[in-house]
Symmetry: C2
């Protein structure tokens, strides 16, 4: 492969990554919408936001389905970040709802 071919292939790879990232982003937003529905149900049923057992199930699901090349501990760290962001959203919604209740 010439130097020029290699640079061309590098750019193709980057375009592929940009495409994959947009699909990841769509799924993250889809996941957020489901988490928001879960949050609403939990508030209605007066259940706690943080459920460590359920979070363990989430990690078990992804590490159990991981065919690589990403290592299991890397997968876990990425999903830790995802779960952490979604937990923040649930907390924020809870505060917003409490504020609304008080103003009624």
């Amino acid at each position: 492969m010439t130097h020029e071919d290699a640079l061309h292939r590098l750019n193709e790879c980057r375009d592929d990554i940009d495409g994959v990232d947009i699909r990841i982003l769509e799924l993250l937003n889809q996941r957020t919408s489901i988490v928001e529905e879960i949050g609403q149900i939990k508030r209605d049923l007066d259940l706690p936001i943080y459920e460590p057992k359920r979070e363990d199930d989430v990690y078990r699901n992804v590490t159990g389905h991981n065919g690589g090349p990403l290592a299991a501990d890397a997968v876990k760290r990425v999903f830790e970040r995802i779960i952490d962001e979604m937990r923040s959203i649930q907390r924020m919604r809870m505060i917003q709802e409490q504020g609304r209740d008080k103003s009624c």
Copy 2:
């Protein structure tokens, strides 16, 4: 919705999340494979692994395509984790290759 219906819906939502997570995982692994190819090209061309400008492009791509409900800063933090994991893989491969070169 009865208490029982709500609990049933909660479980359905969790199944949906597990499905979304497996799709995110597949895309993360697809992204890793592309990053590994990029790493190989960079080593062949003797280019640096860390390119801050390219990382800015990655953040711009995802935040620019974000329709929510996930906030832009949350999207950025998730992708920071993803990029960080991929950079570690590229570094590890570089060390492995240097080791191989020395043993030849």
